[in-house]
Every structure is written in C-alpha cells, then in structure tokens.
Amino acid sequence: MEFQNWWPLALVVLFPAIGAVSNGLLGLVNQRRGKPNKEMVVSAIALGASFAAFLVATWGVLALVNAPADEAGYRVLSYEPYTWIVSELIKVPIKLVLDPLSAVMVLVVTGVGFLIHVYSVGYMHGEEGYYRYFAYLNLFMFSMLILVLGGNFLLLFVGWEGVGLCSYLLIGYYFTKDFAATAGKKAFVVNRVGDFGFLIGILFVATIFGTLDFDTVLKSVGEHQAALLTPLLGSWGPTVITVLTLSLFVGAMGKSAQIPLYVWLPDAMAGPTPVSALIHAATMVTAGVYMVVRCSPLFLLSPTSMAVVAWIGVLTSLMAALIAMTQTDIKKVLAYSTVSQLGYMFVACGVGAFGAAIFHLMTHAFFKACLFLGSGCVIHAMHHAYHHTGDGESDPQDMRNMGGLWARLPWTFLAFLLATMAIAGLPPLSGFFSKDEILWKAFMPGNEYGSFAIWLIGWVVAGMTAFYMFRLLAMTFLGTTRVKRETFHQVHELPWTMLAPVLVLAVLSVAGGWINIPQVLGSESTERLHHFLEPQFERYRLEMGASDHGVAELESAGGPVGLGEVSGDRSPRGAGHELLATVPAGGHGELEVKQELSLIWFSVAIGVMGMVLAGWLYLKAPEVLELIRSRLGRFYDVVVNKFYVDEFYEATFVDGTKKLGENLAKFDLARIDGLVNGVAKATVWTSKKSVRGDLNFIDSAVNGVGESIMRAGLVLRRIQMGSAQGYIVVMAAGLFALIVVFVLL
C-alpha cells in the first residue's frame, strides 16, 4: 500500500505551533516593553490557530475518506518532510500519518480542543499570565497532534513527552499556590515511572524489529510472527513479546492514570478547569489507550499482556468509582470518574475490542469535557458569588456548599444533565453505546480474552458510575440549596462565550454515539465508526493470515466467520480482529443477538438503579445515607481517604527516596562546606607568607577575624587537606576494584 503524500497534514501540526510561538513571543515583547497584553489579540491568535488546525484536520479526514484504498479498504495519508535520525541501527523519518485511527483522534483533539479554547477565553479572563496560558495550551495541542499523527514510536514519544511537559506547566499554572506546584511535581514524578517503561518498550521494539515505523513493525508482526515466537528468540519469544508489551503498557499506565500510577490525576485538578477538561479528561490521558490500540497487533501476540491490561483496567475502574462515590470536591469526583472511565477503555483493549476502546475514548471526550466545563461554570459562578459577598472562606468547589443551583444556572444544568445521563449510560446517549459495546465484548462467548468476572465488575462499575454522577448532580444542582441566601442570589449564569462550548459538547455527548449504533439495535447505518476503523486493524490481520496457514485453515474450516466462531481459533491473533472486524449482518447467531440484547437491558437497568438510588439517598432520604455510612464504618473511612494509597506512597517511595538522597548528599557535602572556610584561612596564611606588600590588609584581616577563628580555620584546613588525601584513597580503591574486575572477568 503506497502512502499518499498529503502535505497539508503538516499544517495541522504547524498551526498550533505557530500559535504557541507567536503568543509566547508577543508576551515576551510586551513584558519587556512593560505593556500589558491585549487579551483580544492573544485569544485571537490562539483560537485562530486551533480552529485552523481543526479545519485542516477535517479537510484531511475528508481527503482520507476519498483517498484510494487498497484491496483491504485501507486508506492512509501521510507526509514525510525529511529524515530525522539516521543511524546504523535505525532510520527515523519525520512522518505524519493520517489513517482511520489517527483520524478519529485528530478530530477529537482539534475539535474538543477548539471548544475548550473558546471556553478558556471567558474562564481565564483577567488572569495573570493570560498569554502564557494560551501559549501553553497551543503548545499542548501541537504536542498532542504530534502524538496522534506521528508515524513511528519516536515521534509518538516526542508528543508523549511534550504533552507531559505542557500538562506539568499547566497543572502548576497557579504556581503561587503550594498545592498546584506540588501537584505538578507529583504528576511529573509518576509519569517518569511510566516513561521509563515506555522507553524500555521502544528500545525493545527497535532491537527486535530494527525499525520504529508503526506500519513496518506491525506488518512484520504478521510476517515474522512465527519467527518471533519461536526460532528467532528461541523459547524466549513469547516472553520477550510479553515483556515488550508490558513495558509499553507501563507507559500507558502512567499517562492514562491506571493502578498503581493513577495517583497524579486527581491532584492534577489543581490546574485551571479548562485544562482539566482538555488535558486531564479528553485528550492527553487517553494517549495511553491510543498507544495500546496503535500497538494492538503486538499486544494480541501475548495473551498474558492482554489479561494484564484487562484486569488492571477493570480494577482501576472499580477502585476509582468507589472513591468517586465518596468525594465532595466537584472536580475530584470528575477526576476519579475519569480514572474509572480510562479503566473501562483498557478493559476494552484487554478483551480485544480495540475499536470499542476508541469509540469510548471519543464519547468520553465529549461528555467528560462537557462535565468538566460545566463544573468550571459552577466553580466560576460560585467563586464570583463568594467574591461579591466577601466570603473568602468557603470552597467554591465543595459540593456540600452547593445544591439547588439549577435555578440560577439553568443552561449549565441542562448541559450537565445531558452529559451525566450520557456517562451513566442511558440510551440513546453516547455513553450508552460505547459502554455497552465494551461490556458486551467482555462478556461475549467465544472471546477468549473476555471473562464473566470482568464483565461482572464492569457491569457493577456502570451502576456505580450512574450513582456517583447523579449524586454529583443532586448535590450540586438539585434539592434545597445549601448556599447562603445572599451568595445564592449572586450566582449568575455565565456569558455565552463560555456556555456555547458547553452546550455544543452536550449535544455531542447526546449524539456522539449515533455513529456507532450496534447492529442488534440498528437499521441501515450501523457501526459506522467500526466500518471506518476496520481496515486499520484488518490490514495487519491480512498480513498475518497470508503468512500463517493456520488461520486460513481455521477460517475455511469454521464455515461462515462469525463472532461466535472465534472461539475455535486458539492462536492469539485471530480473536481480537474478529471482534474488531464488523461481520456481515448475517454473521450474528441467534443466541448472540439475544445475549447482547439482554446485556443491554442489564446495563440500562443498573444504570437507572444507580441513578434512582443516588437521587433518593441524596435528595429524599439523607438519613438512610447516614445509616449506610455508619454501618460501613471503617470501610467507608478507607474509601473516603482514597484507600490511603497516597499515604502509602508517601511513606514508602517518597520518604525512601528522600532519605537516600539525603544520605548521599551528606556524603557529598559533609566535607565541602568546612573546606571552603578552611581554605579562606589558608589563603590568609599563604598570602601572609608570600605577599610582600600587603601587610595592612593581612593585619586587619587577622585582627578582625581573631585568634580563635584562626584556630578553627586551621582545624578546618586539616579536614581539607585530608579530603584531598581521601580522594586519592578512594581513587586507589577504585583502581583496586578495576584490577579485581580484570582478574575475575
């Protein structure tokens, strides 16, 4: 398949870059001149850049749809301006690739990104460092686009580090506040652990495949699969692939906040709310999911890795949902909800439903961005109200101080309601379709990666999601208000520049799922997204099929290839692709249809149950709530305190590292500080001996310092001389060690 050269692809990436640079420079120039920045200019540049990127991206996707396809229906556009790195080992070009997978991502990133830019104009109005914010935001868009458009692992990594840096900068945006700086640091540290895994994974890929190009690597997974698994690496083959994929997954865990590296995401809420919406909900945190989907042929080679991905995902979603049910900070609830939903996406990956993962990623981007922006509206409104009433005490993010706000913020409430229903999985909103697909694929008989246990937990989490989201809705917007009367009247709906993006996102969270209505429910135009993505996954499967007769035989023997038949295929490769590939309408067996339909009823039922329960407990029967809390006792405390994971990390890793660092620093510094003083005195002494004419100077020095200090200085000087000897002793010991190495090895 020839890659279509389509140069405007560079524009998608360049527009945000230009926006970032020009905003940054403008800010610098103005700062030097001592002039304030005009917010109009800054936002025009930033919005223009992101909107231009969105337009070009849309153009690109349209061009992609109309591009000539290969026999498998695979279409791709690419742009390769020049070769970036050349070495004996590897050649890495700068290569942007727009294939169906990155097309979905690019649209989400630029589309949601643009809306959040619009929202930010109002939200950040009057903040200090306005230009800085927008420069960072555009820089983030740039990095994220590099991440999703990058045609090889190294460019993905460039984007990966770039978004990490921007995330860090934006979390710490309010750096004068301590918690923001700490949160930024935490995000950074945790992500380093992930990056370590990711880099090791990339090194593995480079070593095994001799290239970092996605297409080449994934194709050779098919071509050399047998070789990879047996002769080339011997009996270690499967293990190597497992280690490789798990290393990559560690990177995904860090970026996408999965157990045990999820701790940074809730803290990252210290950043401005639009940032939380864009980076920590809609786009950056999904980079891990994107990467796993991108490398899906590799993951499919290792059943162990697939199981790990699925179980980490499902456990994360359970744990985060549990915590989310107890939090009172509106943004914290949403943050844990994000962690939980990301877990869902990994469940989809782990059970081989990569298309479903991308689908959920997309719908999640819509409704979670909407929720965050909505919460931003609430916080903004509350903040202003408190500000007007001179209340500096109350926390504008604490839901216990809210309630009944629907009357004051009707539009926000409407958007929030729709997005909540979407995330809770009520039909026919977007979340319903994507979540159900994941659950169905997890449950689906014949899917060797799925299991009943995963489905069960996922199903329970769906109920919990509905519960905590409606709890949030109830505590914030419904019931009688807990806001002080005078404050309550100061709460005002926000300007349309901020409401419009929220409402657009609300519409998207309602309608976003309709592009992928499951077949069992559908009519003519079902599963469009899957049809669009299918060739992407098909491409590498075909390559495999061609080289592996086993699959072909199985397929021919198994009669009509349907979802139900995959179970016969014991090799790890077929199943996932069968799941991804949308089978012809006739492929559904009777039984599957029934099962799938009943599962849909199950999920809707638990969603409604969670919703009703939350409404009842928080609006009608708070006393029951109290009763439950007291009954749960200890367990409730543990959950409220987020399972004490932060404390555990603090006590083990953080303190451990600190101690190690301190001890090492002691080793380094203990001698040094004394030295300097010692030498000062030594200098006085030497100058006394050697400098002829400086008697006045020396005298005054000696008198001024005084005899006692001189004595102290001498003692210190001894230490200093000793240290030089000490260095030599250490050197000699090093030499000895070297000789030992020579002799022994």
Binding site: L28, Y82, I85, V86, L154, K185, A665, I739
Partner: protein, 486 residues
C-alpha cells in the same frame, strides 16, 4: 615532509598564532587590552577552525603514525575549538567582573586547546601524554584565576594534585604497555597485541588498567570523580565551562583512538571495566546531582553523568567495521559541548548581576525578568535531560542505540533510567525560573553582547541540532567512516 606538516597544520597554526597574540599583547599600549587580546585570541580560533575545515576529508598520517589527520580528529578538533571560542567570548566580560583582568587567560585557553587538538589526533602514547599535559597545565592555572577567591585557590590546588596523580597513573600505564609490547604507536600496538602471548600478559593488562584510571580521572568518572564538584565550583565559571567540555572531548577522543585503534583486541578487558565505570557514573552522577543547590556543583555532577553516557558509546565499540560506537561518541560530544557551554553561559549571565551568584535560588523568577535568557536555559536543560526534540535527545538515542547494537542492553537500560532521574534536577532549575516569583524586583543582567550571542547561538543550535539531526549526523558519520584505519 610536507605531509608531516599538513597533518599537524591546525595545531601548528594555533600555536603560532598564540605566540603572535602573546607578542602583540606584551607590546600593546591599548587601554582596552583585555578586549583586544580576547578579540585576537578569537581570531586565532576562527583561523584555526578555517584550517580544519580546509583540511576536511583528508585522511593522512604523519611522523610514522604518531599523529593522524582523519575525520574524527578534525571533527573533535573543531569541537574543541568551538569550546575554546565560546569560552573566550564568555570570559572577557566575566574577567572584568571578578577584577582579574589578566590577558594571560586567553593565551592559556589557546595553548590548552593546542593540547586538546593533539590529544584527539594522537596516534601514539607519548604524544597523547604530552598533549594531555599541554592541556592540563594551563587549566591548573586557570582554575586558580580568581586569586582573591579562596575556593578558586582550593580548586586549583586540588585539580593540580589530582591531575598530577592521574598523570602518574597514565604514565605508569604507558610505561608498562611499552614494556609489554615494545611500542607506543597505536598501529603497532594493535599489531603486537593481536598475538596471544602479548595480549594475555599481565603487564599489558596492568598497563591498560593504569591508563584507564588516568583517563577515568580526567573524565571524572565514578569513583574517580570526587575532585570534580569542588574544582568545577571553585574555578571561574568560563574555566569550568571549558573544563567540562573541551577536556572531555579531548580525553574521549584519545580514549577512543587508544582503545579502538591500539588495544581493540583487548576489548573483553576494557569493555568490562568501562561499562562498570559508565554505569556507576550514570547512576551516581545523577543521584548526587539531585540534592545540589549550587548550580556549578549541579552541572558538575551532571557532567559526570554525561561522561557516563558517552562512555556507553565507547563501550559499544563492539563492531569496529561499522564504527557506530565512536561515531555516536563524537556526535554526543558535539551536542554535549554545545548545550553545556550554553548552560554555563546562562550561569555567567546570571552571575553578572549585582549580588548574583550561583545558587539555585538566584535563578528564581528569571522567566519574568529575563524571559529570553530563561528560555535559552530551558532549551539547554531539556536538551541535557535528553528530552525530545532537542539535540541531547538525539545524541542519547544514538549512544543507547550503539549500546543495543553492541548487545549491551543493560547499559541502555541504565542510561535510560539515569536520564529519567536527571530530568528531576534539571526540572528543578526550570521550576525555579518559571514558577517562583523573583526575589528582587528587577535584577539586571550583564549586557555583554558576546555572552548573549554565545548563549543565543548555543540555544539555536541545541534546537536545530535536534530538529534536523540527520543532516548533521550525515556529515559526522561520513567523517567517522574513515576513522581509525591504522
């Protein structure tokens, strides 16, 4: 005859020009003698660079193989010259600030550079040693150039003591090697060590070990690093910049020639010893840097770690025909020199303001008072940390790639781990610059054009080197392809 002279032409030109500069300096009556001499020295550097460029592509051997003019030698010579030029630019203003306006500074830098250039072209052990001494003696003096500053004197003393010790090790090693093989010329060494009897002789191994210790000292590899933080901290900042770049280039150039050219057949032995030194340097250098508050000390530890990364490339000298290892080394050295000089340049700028010092806190809020300087520093630090898309990232990529190609995966993994640790302390500086309020309202930095231009050029190069690395890489690799054909 003519060939002999061509082979040493760059050194010859630089040495002669230094003498010319010296004479002009002595008889000068100019009021701004410091600036005049700096300018002359700069011209000498540029002329020598031009000579190097003119000689590019030649592959000659002079004085019976004692000196080699090949692409690696020229490339590293040019890197040394860049380092010297940048040091001169950085120093002229600095010297006035510290009130030590001695024009000898520039002469010593020039002559030290002669030593470096000899080292990277040496094809023989004695020449290597004398090159090393030519390089070191000026540095002992330069380290103590802030005479009124006790720490500078301490640095000079310590550097001298340790340097003498290391020279002793190196010389002893050379003597033993000569005793075992009867030659000091690399090509003959290579020939004679190919026989089993000599390659296995304990004398030769001892000689090799002692030479490695000498190099390890000069390169400040753990556990021979302890002098480095003290010396780097105490020396005048431009000298520290010169020491942490030029010396490393020279020593690594010589090491690659010696090990790859002369003692390639002993690869088993030095490979093992060096990978341990590399691993120790990477881990300890980075961990010890974490707690530093003095920027010069921090950069000292960082340079220890970087020496470790470069050593990974030397260790990867596994597959000689492809010469990928030494190529990665040269490439890394070039990148490292640029970004490290840039970082020190910013440090000099910061030190130039009244009361400005070298503590981490002194950078507080730099992004607000001097956004461009802060931006440049961010480039350097991110590049040193190996963050894409900066030059340092590409350089690390090559070095670790070379390690993998040589089958030393563990070194690549240690290297990755080390660079991840390093991000913390580099980021601490960035945080201090961007995320804290300045302590004083408007700290004024020196407006020296030379320093600013140097820093700006280094920042630009750090970025462009990363973005368009393959162009640079192609040139460098063609260069190294012809490397070491003794």
């Amino acid at each position: 005859m003519a060939q002999n002279l061509i082979v040493v032409l760059p050194e010859l030109v630089l040495a002669l020009l230094s003498v010319v500069v010296l004479l002009i300096d002595i008889f000068s009556e100019s009021r701004s003698r410091l600036r005049q001499t700096a300018g002359l020295a700069m011209m000498a550097v540029v002329l020598t660079l031009a000579v190097c460029i003119a000689l590019w592509g030649k592959n000659l051997s002079g004085y019976n193989g004692i000196v080699r003019l090949d692409s690696m030698g020229l490339l590293l010579s040019m890197v040394c010259l860049v380092s010297a030029g940048a040091t001169i630019l950085l120093a002229s203003d600095y010297l006035r600030q510290i009130g030590s306006e001695k024009t000898e500074f520039f002469l010593l830098i020039l002559l030290s550079t002669v030593g470096m250039m000899v080292m990277v072209k040496a094809g023989e052990l004695l020449t290597l040693f004398i090159g090393l001494e030519t390089l070191s003696i000026p540095l002992y003096v330069l380290a103590g150039f802030r005479r009124q500053e006790p720490r500078s004197q301490e640095a000079a003393l310590k550097y001298f003591l340790m340097g003498a010790f290391a020279s002793g090790f190196l010389l002893y090693g050379i003597a033993l090697t000569y005793a075992a093989t009867g030659t000091t010329i690399f090509s003959e060494l290579r020939h004679s060590t190919s026989t089993e009897a000599i390659a296995g002789s304990p004398i030769l191994l001892a000689g090799l070990g002692l030479m490695l210790v000498g190099f390890a000292f000069k390169l400040a590899l753990v556990p021979f690093h302890m002098w480095a933080p003290d010396v780097y901290e105490g020396s005048p900042t431009p000298v520290t910049a010169f020491m942490s770049t030029g010396v490393k280039v020279a020593a690594f150039g010589a090491l690659v020639r010696l090990l790859g050219g002369g003692l390639a057949s002993l690869q088993e032995g030095w490979g093992t010893a060096l990978w341990m030194l590399a691993a120790l340097s990477i881990l300890f250098g980075n961990i010890l840097a974490l707690k530093q508050n003095n920027l010069k000390r921090l950069l000292a530890y960082s340079s220890i770690a970087h020496a470790g990364y470069i050593l990974v490339g030397v260790v990867a000298y596994h597959s000689l025909p492809t010469a990928f290892g030494p190529w990665a080394v040269s490439y890394y050295l070039a990148a490292y020199v640029v970004m490290n000089l840039g970082a020190f340049g910013v440090l000099i700028l910061v030190q130039s303001r009244p009361g400005g010092a070298e503590k981490l806190e002194d950078l507080r809020g730099l992004s607000q008072s001097h956004p461009l300087v802060a931006l440049c520093m961010t480039f350097f630090l991110l590049s040193l940390a190996g963050m894409p898309p900066f030059w340092g990232f590409v350089a690390k990529f090559y070095v670790f790639g070379a390690a993998i190609q040589a089958g030393r995966y563990y070194l690549a993994i240690i290297g990755v781990l080390g660079s991840l640790i390093s991000i913390f302390y580099y980021l601490r500086i960035i945080v201090e610059m961007y995320m804290s309020e300045p302590t004083e309202p408007e700290p004024k930095l020196s407006s020296s054009l030379a320093v600013r231009v140097t820093v700006g050029a280094a920042a630009l190069l750090t970025l462009l080197g990363g973005l368009f690395s393959s162009g640079l890489a192609d040139a460098a690799r063609d260069a190294i392809r012809m490397l070491i054909t003794p």
